[in-house]
């Protein structure tokens, strides 16, 4: 089942500074594939974080815009962008970014509560996600009592709570060892296999190779788009994903 299409058209962000304008991103154009992982790669300062902030509606562009199907995300008010994030986007961050004072279950229930789900619905959905990510026995633990891998799985579960169309993963394995990192990669493949768009932001070339599409940024510009045509067929197959992650097949440069 395919979901929404996330598109960026002539997307750009220029920051005003006393020493002159700083162009963080310029002329970025791409339609993100549904049911696939698109990796955004590039060195520090290449504009990856700026792109993520603009796509996710954390920030507003100075040029161009972001569309989710026909929804003009960048022209929405802050509250409306919050609503888009709540119902159609999910987020996984490098440093997990769980709310430290809430238990694993409460973290997963947070977006459900914000979306107005009642206690029963929240509990049912949280149970489902806790089971899916093997966290049922850790449900009532605070984040500091969970391992890094468990925290990232809680973050994944939270990202999926409201059944989003797009999941943004910002260096999701950056704080994990290689084994738990592979588990998270496998989980992201599953997420893409459900028809969701996964936007993976990383500077890790090895991690980016698990993507179906790879966008390379440099100095705030998109300099290459790599497609890996065989990748989509692997979606939803946890074993296949593991293999992908481990073999780290080289991508095909198309541009």
């Amino acid at each position: 089942m395919l979901r929404g299409v996330l598109r960026a058209v002539d997307l750009g962000k220029t920051y005003r500074a006393p020493s002159g304008d700083v162009v963080a991103l310029a002329g970025f154009e791409h339609a993100f594939s549904e049911g696939a992982i698109t990796a955004v790669v590039g060195p520090s300062g290449s504009g990856k974080s700026t792109l993520l902030n603009l796509l996710a509606g954390f920030d507003v562009p100075t040029t161009g815009g972001v569309w989710l199907d026909d929804l003009v995300v960048h022209q929405r008010s802050e509250a409306e962008r919050a609503s888009v994030r709540l119902r159609r986007f999910g987020f996984v961050f490098q440093s997990f970014n769980l709310v430290t004072v809430l238990t694993a279950r409460q973290n997963i229930e947070l977006p459900l509560g914000l979306a107005g789900a009642n206690a029963g619905e929240r509990r049912r959905r949280a149970d489902e996600l806790l089971r899916r990510f093997g966290l049922s026995r850790r449900a009532d633990h605070l984040p500091h009592r969970l391992s890094g891998g468990e925290r990232q799985r809680v973050a994944l579960a939270r990202a999926l709570a409201n059944d989003p169309d797009v999941v943004f993963a910002d260096e999701p394995t950056g704080s994990l060892d290689s084994v738990t990192g592979r588990e998270v990669v496998a989980a992201l493949r599953d997420v893409a296999g459900e028809g969701r768009t996964v936007v993976l932001v990383t500077h890790d070339e090895a991690l980016s190779s698990i993507a179906d599409v790879r966008l390379r940024l440099s100095d705030g510009r998109l300099v290459a788009t790599d497609h890996v045509p065989t990748r989509r067929s692997a979606g939803g197959d946890r074993g296949a994903v593991r293999e992908d992650a481990e073999t780290l097949a080289p991508a095909v440069v198309s541009r």
């Binding site: 954390f58 920030d59 509250a79 919050a82 994030r85 809430l102 409460q106 409201n162």
Partner: protein, 384 residues
């Protein structure tokens, strides 16, 4: 979810939360004690005045200066003059009252004597007053050195029926009855026959004031005007005017005391605002995460405001308890000094204190809540 977030926020720095709540508690507590003084006096006066049967009080000149004058100024002859025209004025009853304060070495040993015609029905002036022990004054008492003592005076002076109260070297009264507590000033008075008190202090033809009951209470103002037209030297005050004068005085003192309390409350509010600002600053990243997953700015605004109000209300709850304690201490002292409970923590005072604390929490929370709502997500998430 929201309660979890708010509770966790307050418990994140327990000592800071405790100290802030303590600051509010002291501010609210001092406000309660300050305002309880007015409430206590208001209660004492309203109980006293509700016990005043007559509709008018007639004094010589201005009531406020004459009632408690050292030497009574109202010639008793006016009683006969007024009663002669009773029908025209609509007077039903007129009772002369002589007030005399026997000062003591300390305020605690002072005694307020009230001379009333022995045959007068005390209950027509003080409807709540009943005899707990012994007997009331009666028609056989004129000229007799007998007294009925208010309960607080009896307790303070440690006298019972059969005991003696000394007014001056020439006059002592035998206690024949103890009144039962009706609250108010009468509890602190000693009722004696008018003629006996007049003789004891040597003012045979003068009293402090007359209390007058009229046929139609609603015509109190007309009757007062009529008497003052006939006797310009007399001051006539209706009960409503009397209440108004007292209420105005209490209202002025309320404002003064509230003004003093406001300083404590403002300091408390600043403490809350400071605590909340620190809390918002420390939780910038958390707020960024909550915003990132889809919370609207107003969710965080409401969350911080809720925390601020909850913090203030916790302080207020402790403050009200402190206020009760403070008022109790004040009354302990005032009972000892002037035999009157001057402080009263009434439900409306508690409601006022809680409302003020809630309002203070709301106001103090506005700035931090605004900050929380405006946290830029990208900046907050990048923060370590």
């Amino acid at each position: 979810m929201v309660p979890s977030l708010a509770t966790a926020a307050l418990l994140r720095r327990p000592l800071r939360t405790f100290l802030t709540a303590l600051g509010i508690a002291i501010a609210v507590g001092s406000t309660v004690v300050f305002l309880s003084l007015g409430e206590g006096l208001r209660q004492a006066f309203s109980q006293e005045l509700s016990g005043v049967g007559p509709d008018l009080q007639v004094s010589f000149g201005d009531l406020q200066t004459s009632s408690f004058a050292e030497i009574p100024e109202l010639p008793i002859a006016y009683a006969a003059d007024l009663l002669a025209d009773a029908e025209r004025y609509g007077i039903v009853d007129l009772i002369p009252v002589l007030l005399h304060v026997r000062s003591g070495l300390s305020p605690g040993t002072a005694i307020v004597f009230q001379g009333l015609p022995a045959e007068a029905d005390v209950a027509s002036i003080y409807v709540d007053f009943t005899i707990a022990e012994g007997r009331a004054l009666d028609a056989g008492d004129p000229g007799a050195m007998v007294a009925v003592v208010g309960p607080q005076t009896a307790e303070r002076l440690q006298v019972g029926v059969g005991g003696t109260l000394r007014l001056n070297p020439r006059a002592s009264f035998e206690v024949v009855g103890i009144g039962s507590s009706a609250g108010g000033l009468l509890d602190n008075s000693v009722l004696v026959p008018l003629s006996s008190l007049q003789a004891a202090i040597g003012v045979e033809d003068r009293v402090s004031f007359f209390v007058v009951e009229i046929a139609e209470a609603s015509k109190a103002n007309e009757v007062a005007d009529a008497i003052m037209a006939d006797y310009p030297e007399l001051g006539v005050q209706t009960r409503a005017e009397l209440l108004e004068v007292i209420e105005r005085g209490l209202a002025i003192s309320d404002v003064v005391r509230l003004g003093i309390s406001a300083i404590a409350l403002i300091v408390g509010a600043i403490a809350v605002a400071n605590t909340m600002l620190m809390s918002v600053f420390e939780r910038t990243r958390e707020f960024g995460v909550v915003r990132a997953v889809g919370a609207r700015p107003r969710f965080l605004f409401g969350l911080v405001l809720l925390e601020s109000v909850v913090l203030s209300l916790i302080g207020a709850a402790v403050g009200v308890a402190l206020g009760f304690l403070g008022a109790w201490v004040v009354n302990l002292v005032s009972l000892d000094l002037i035999a009157l409970e001057v402080a009263a923590v009434t439900p409306r005072l508690v409601a006022f204190a809680v409302a003020v604390a809630a309002g203070m929490g709301l106001l103090a929370g506005l700035l931090p809540a605004g900050r929380a709502a405006r946290v830029p997500i990208a900046v907050a998430l990048a923060r370590e």
